[in-house]
Each structure stands twice: as C-alpha cells, then as structure tokens.
Point group: C2
Chain length 401, copies 2
C-alpha cells in the first residue's frame, strides 16, 4: 500500500517535470489580439466590385464618392468608399506596391485626399496570397510593406481576399496583415474575404479581423448557385447559423449588397436589404451610385431599417420560427425590444406570425409595434403579431414590451 502511494507520487512528479521540460517554442503567438476599436457597428459604405468588377478606375470611384454625398447616403451613415481588385499596378524594385497608372493616374493618395475632403473614408483591396483574384499583385510576403504604404496613402479600410493562397493557413495569414496594419499606427478597418472555408467565425475576431465572409460571393439573384457565387437565399442560410459570433467590432459578412444592380425585383431587393439589416451585416452598397433609380436610393437610405442594422447592442438577428415558407427572425435591440422580420421565402403570399415566446417574451406582455419600412406605429398587441407577407417579401417591425 505504501509502495503503491509512493509510485503514484513519483509518477505525478515525473509528469510535472516532463511538462516543465516541454518548452513550447511559441506559447503566445496565437493569443487573441486586442480589438482595434473599429467597427463598433457594422460598417456602411460602397464597394466597386459588384457593379464595376475589374473596370474600376479613378472616375468610377470619384463618381461614387460624389453620389454618396449627393444622394443622402452619407447623411444616413454610409462612410467607406472601397476600391476592390484591379487597382494595383506593378511593384517597384524595392517591392513597394504602386497603383495602376492607367486606371489611377493621380495615384491613391490624391484620391484619399478627395474622399477625406468630403468627410468620407477610403478603403482598398489586397489579397493574402501571391496574387489577387484578378491576377494582380498579392500581399503575401509584402504585408508590412503594403500596410505601411496603405497608411501613408491615407487608407481607412482594407478588404483582404484569399485567392492564390495555396496551402497557407488562414488564421495566421490574416493575423499577419492585422499586425502589419496595427504597426502603421493608423486605424484601418480590416475585412477578411476568405469565403468561410476555414470557419473564420471561430478565429477571425481573435486575429484582428473586423468582418469576415461566411461564404462565396453573392450574385444578383434571389437564389441558386453560380460559379463560386450564391443567390441571396443561399447566402442567408450560410450566415444565419453563425449569428452568435457577431458583435461590436467583429461581424459576419454575407457579402456586399446587390440592391439596384437589376437582377432582382424591388420586393426581393427590399428583402435582401432587410435581411442584411436584421443580421447586423455590413451594409456595403454594390451598385452604380451615380446612376441609381429613386427606388434604389430610397431603399438604401431607409433610416429606420439602417438603425436596426446599426443598433448598438450589435446582436445578429436569427431565425426563431418556420411556418412553411414563412420564417420569423428576431434581432435583440439595445432598448430591450426586438427587430422582427417576417420573411416569406416562397412564391405565394402567406401569413406569418411572430409569437412573443419565440422572441423571448412571456405571452401576456403587451408590446408596442412599429412598421419599420413604412415608419408607422401599429396598435399595441400581446402574445403575437401576424401579417400577410407577399412572395419573396418581408414585413419588418420592432416589438418593444
């Protein structure tokens, strides 16, 4: 008995010594990075890709800047004007990245000065791999150099793509650029475009990323799959299950908006925008701001819908009930209320009912209701709220006990 106890003591001692000797060559490298303090609410802005793709240039960006101001988008919170892929020229012999001189003859710094003179912020694009998706220069191996340059130009936002990354590890690749951005001393919002392959909702926030994509690129369609692209319904179904990962400073990104690009009906665009607001998604318009219809402008600038997206609690709304093709979504708000989306995925009108118990309230509670899209108070009710919802449409209300 005594010998047995001694054996156990020696065994434990051996374990402790073995643990001490096993020096980890890098015990701190993957500790969470402290948040950069940006994106307290989901970022709002515009990006060149969805409309202009590789046709971006100085005129296109300046036109978007002017339109963002003139359309009233700036007044309702849009701030970032983001140049996507294809702005890059060659690297200088010392490795410094240059803008494509044909597309940006006056350079990025001059453009940033213009953007800042309007009270807006400038975003740019690069890629964690050896090349961008369009085959331009990637930042791999140049991260600190590129970050220095972006900061010197006055860049406020970086969208960082994942093409040509071979076998790179996503967390450390994004962390490297996050550290490079921080080393500049300039606050630069960091957007990861990794398409959700490595489950960024699990690691991106801890590696200095403010928003990360949950899936492939969006396409300007209600549903369906294209070549590395998904319609609105399909992207929503990728974003919804990740809702717990979102919060101030770190957001799921279902990709940029297609509102106004022509591939969906007005009803579908309103649903698309509503779902993005309900999910506390970044609201990055992707249409031609300089030539949008009044309908598109009204849709993109609805203050009450935007307020739901930007609510300071920062909760991502999610599905709390299904009723055939109808769905009830609930987004907790900072005032204790809920932004409730009655969402009809189907091709026929249907009645959808939000029950208080599905929203986390006792059934007997009376709550005030407000129709968000129409900016109208509705009669107070208790227990539940029902509405007829058109095909592919939504009814969006706030429910406040």
């Amino acid at each position: 008995m005594k010998n047995k106890a001694l054996l156990i003591v020696w065994g434990l001692l051996g374990l402790v010594v073995a643990t001490m000797l096993r020096a980890d060559p890098d015990p701190t490298a993957m500790l969470p990075l402290a948040a950069n303090g940006l994106a307290a609410a989901p970022p709002m802005g515009w990006n060149s890709w969805n409309k202009f793709a590789c046709g971006v240039n100085e005129q296109v960006v300046r036109a978007a800047v002017d339109a963002m101001v003139d359309s009233g988008m700036q007044d309702v919170g849009y701030r970032y004007v983001v140049i996507d892929d294809c702005w890059q020229g060659m690297r200088a012999p010392d490795g410094a990245i240059e803008a494509d001189p044909d597309r940006f003859p006056r350079g990025i710094k001059a453009l940033a000065d213009y953007v800042h003179s309007k009270g807006l912020l400038l975003g740019i694009y690069s890629d964690a791999g050896s090349q961008s998706c369009a085959g331009r220069a990637g930042s791999r191996g140049h991260e600190f150099q590129d970050a220095q340059r972006f900061a010197a130009w006055g860049i406020d936002y970086l969208k960082y793509d994942w093409c040509h990354t071979g076998s790179q590890d996503a967390p450390s690749s994004y962390r490297t650029m996050a550290l490079a951005l921080r080393a500049t001393g300039r606050p630069i919002l960091f957007s990861a475009c990794e398409w959700g392959q490595a489950r960024p909702w699990l690691w991106a926030a801890d590696n200095g990323v403010n928003l990360w994509r949950v899936g492939p690129d969006i396409m300007d369609r209600w549903s369906g799959r294209g070549d590395y692209q998904l319609g609105v319904l399909d992207i929503v179904d990728l974003a919804e299950p990740r809702h717990a990962a979102a919060g101030p400073g770190h957001w799921n990104d279902p990709d940029m908006l297609e509102v106004g690009n022509g591939g969906m009906t007005e009803v579908e665009y309103r649903s698309h925008f509503s779902l993005w607001a309900e999910m506390a998604a970044p609201l990055i318009a992707g249409n031609d701001l300089a030539h949008m219809t009044p309908t598109t402008r009204v849709l993109l600038t609805n203050r009450e819908v935007i307020a739901i997206d930007q609510d300071r609690l920062g909760a991502q709304g999610h599905r709390v009930a299904r009723q055939g093709d109808g769905e009830v979504w609930s987004k907790p708000l900072a005032d204790g209320g809920r932004a409730v989306l009655l969402f009809n995925r189907g091709d026929r009108a249907t009645t959808i009912t939000a029950r208080w118990t599905d929203l986390g309230y006792p059934a007997h509670v009376t709550a005030t209701l407000r129709d968000v899209w129409n900016g109208k108070d509705l009669p107070a009710v208790s227990g539940a709220f029902s509405a007829d919802v058109e095909a592919h449409g939504v009814v969006m209300v706030t429910v406040t006990p």
Copy 2:
C-alpha cells in the same frame, strides 16, 4: 433501355459541365518551384550557433572566416560561414531589418565583403514567424523586404527557422521566402530549420528549399533527449528513414556538427562525422574554428570522408543490415561503388559484416576495398567484408566491384 442510356449520357454531361464550372481560385499556386540550381552537393561550412549561440558578433564571425582559411578547411571544400540567430537589431520605420549595432558595428555588408575577399560565402539567419527563436525580429510579413536586403548585403545562404509561427502553414511559409529570395536575382541557398514537424521531406524540395531539418536540434551528446534537443544516435534514427528524399539540390539535414565542442569522445566525433558523410548531410561545422585542436581539425578535413559526403550521385546512405548493436550502412556512389559504414552503436567492441547482397551486389563479385579514414587500400574480397569495430565507433570503407 433507351431511356436508361439517355439518362446516363445526360448524367455524365452534367458532371462534365459541373467540373468545368467549378473554377479553382488557385490551380497553380502549389505547383513545384523549379530548383534554384544551388547545393548540387550537400553544403559545407560553419555556423555560429552550436558553439556561440546568442553570443555571436563580428569578431566571432571574422575569426571563423580566418580559421576556415588557415586551417585548410577551405581547401577541402568548406565554403559557407553562417551567422545564426541574434545578429538582428530593430527594424527601421519602413520595416527594413538592421543588424544589431553593438554586435555588428560595421554592418553585414562589410562582413560579406570580407568573407567574399577570402573566397568564402556568407550565410545569415531569419525566422518564418513573428520573432526568431531568441526573440529577435522574424521575417513574417517582411519576406520580400528581408530577401532584398540580404541580397543587397551580399548574402549567399539563408537559414530560416520556425519559432513563433503560431498556426502558420509550413510549406507556404517556406515557399514565400523561397520566392522572395528568387525575386532578388541573387543565388541564395535556402536552408529550412522546421524541425521535421510538418514532414518537410515531402514538400520542401518542391517549395524551393535546398535542405530541411529532419528533427529537433542536435546536442553535443552521443545519445539521449534534452529540451528540444537530441543526441547523435537519436537524430540519426530520424534522418535515416528519409533517405529517399535526398538528392542533388535538396537534402535532409540532421543538423549541424558538434565535432570539437567537447561533449563526446574522439571516437564518437569520428562516428558523428562519418554518419553525416554517409547520409550526404550538410557538413556545417559548429565548433570554435579559431581554437580547435589538431585532432578536431584532422577529423573535419579528411578529404576521403568528405568526398563520400560530396559524391556527385547525391544518394543518402542508409542502414541495410543490423547485427546486434552493429549496423551496416550503404551509400551508392557515382562510380558504381558503395560507401559502406560499419557502425557500432553499442558499448562493447563487436565484429560487423557487410554482405555484398546487402549492398546490392551478387555475392560472387570481387570488389576492391579502401579504408576511408586511414586512406589505405585493403585486399580485394568477394561476398562480404568484416571488421572489428570499437564501441561507439565506425569503420568506413568504399567497396568497388
């Protein structure tokens, strides 16, 4: 029947179209890199770490350079003088790496000029992670910038370590630096110090690496395990199974030599050196060249042993028979012969027999024999060759049919 066949045809067609649509965002990124043309034979030289560790400085390196010339090491093939960790100072505001001004007051360029003036080549050290193993600046995110600087200084060899790499992917991390080195236009031999964790023998050669470590650091001991260190016997047993991966331009690296550092007997050092030569390992001395004993000098400069290491066939010798504590190793040579090592791992003298059939020869063949360490021809024999081998010792012969 007809309908069934039609169904199959449509199914196959669908598969083909689906395959075509599934564009791979990076079909070429991990294709093998073309070899850089360096290290046709295993590199030979000296490295500061095993003796001086973090105590390296300009005087230490210059003394090694002078001793490499004066000792006759240069005459027998030693070329690279490699500065290991702790040479780095701070990075400049633009990210450029600087040498520690206290240790290298005249800078690395002046040292390279000195090394080159002696007909030797200069190596340096960095790390794929955010910091080096000794906590100095790592190259992560600075790869192209650092490579440019190394090339501008006149660096000929880079040892690239793996500390503070977090969750980085090893193949793409080494590939990034290999691409950065190539982008300089200067031939720079690339040595990966990844400790064998990600099985570099499977991918390093295809990612621009000339030699890669098979395991932890060597320690100046015949056998046993330290804190991330292994004795000679233990490292040999990690290197031996990888023999098929070695060849001109790409070598397994069982780590640098400990010959002359005092922790082993002369017999053991001779075995250590013989095993490294037999394995076509890099011969990177790790002792204080300026103060080595004649015994150490003689051991490190044996032309016939070195010729086996450097044999142009580039095959790595490996174990072909075990006889108790005795082992027979065979290394195919360019002239059709074999470098045969009779190796006694044990603590007592033993007789070891190399059978022709174990070397890949028919038993009836008569072969000429030469005792490599003693530079003496032995009587020709057929079938087998036996010798008494002292404890921890070797007998090394060439067998030429």
